[in-house]
């Protein structure tokens, strides 16, 4: 006998939040360590669009740079970075005045691991890499940030 689970038949919006977050993470790995030709926000938009099979297109960034315009499928929440969840998205404004968007891969007792495009240190623009940063360093790098999850 075959059992069909709810997830197998339901669409993106019917999945649990953990399943949606995991689908986002799964999609990010396809591009890890590769050149994607897209900056941080555009790459995240592509990831979310692909992961949700076109169900969600993330909205544009507010001119303040650290949060997005409202959208039915994107929920912003406040909170310490320590409490971000894998698969959530961080929109941050760096102290240099530049915006950056990254996806949370994991959180450990002292820091957080992001996967992101266009951070680059010893590489080149529009590359996707993972990056670990301690909470202390994170707070030293950003002037403001928001945590977002995708419905």
């Amino acid at each position: 006998m075959f059992y069909v689970t709810a997830d197998a038949v339901a669409g993106w919006h019917e999945w649990s939040q953990i399943t949606r977050n995991q689908a986002i993470i799964d999609r990010t790995y396809q591009d890890n360590n590769n050149y994607v030709g897209k900056n941080c926000k555009e790459w995240v938009r592509t990831v979310v669009y692909d992961a949700s099979s076109g169900a969600v297109t993330i909205p544009s960034t507010h001119p303040d740079l650290y949060y997005w315009y409202p959208d039915n499928n994107v929920v912003g929440r406040s909170g310490l970075i320590q409490y971000a969840q894998p698969g959530e998205i961080i929109q941050m404004k760096l102290k240099s005045g530049i915006e950056h968007t990254a996806i949370v891969l994991g959180v450990s007792p002292l820091g957080i691991t992001f996967i992101e495009s266009n951070w680059y240190s010893q590489s080149w623009p529009n590359y996707v890499f993972t990056r670990y940063v301690t909470f202390t360093t994170f707070y030293n790098q950003v002037s403001s940030y928001s945590i977002l999850y995708i419905l």
Partner: protein, 213 residues
Amino acid sequence: MNPKKTIIIVCILFAVIILYGYYFKLEKNVENSIFLKNPIDNQIQQSKKKFIPYEERIWNTYTDDRYKYFLEFPSGLNVFSVYERKIEVAESIGGGSFIRSGGVSFSDPELGDYGITSVGVFENTNFLNVDEWLKEENKRFKNQRTVVEKRITIEGHDAIVTYVQSDYEREDAYKHEKTTVFIKDGNLFEIWTRFADTSNHEKIWGSFKFNAS
């Protein structure tokens, strides 16, 4: 005054002083243990460290021995140069790989080695001019395009200063990030810059010069 009364008053004063001292010490301990020693509060304290804008810093000169050029960059950045780097392209945009013959990147250690500027060189390019490069660049993506902000000359070579526009963002959303492209002797140079203050972009490409040979 009655000596008995005096003794009682002195004892009361003494008790008040002791109790006040004990209360003060207790309060300080609580403050230390709950607030000052809380790692989150420590992080917030440290985050107040002042960031010096790039335009206010002293600028240094980077010299590239292989391609014989120099340019200026803000002090305090890490400099990393690499040659003959194979770049893997994501399957999601067609896959494959290409070689970036040489280049240098400048990143800010204060921001966790965040990339600020890079110069990439592609030797023996097939592009005859910068407009051909632009045309090819715009073939790759559906919802984003590279647009020309202005045309300039760098050391007598035609160059374009470009930035990316997305269908989903306001037109100037990514104007803080520019790619300036020119071709010299069959080598394509890409000067990539990322600054909030627009004057810094111009300062980078304006300082780009080839060594007199």
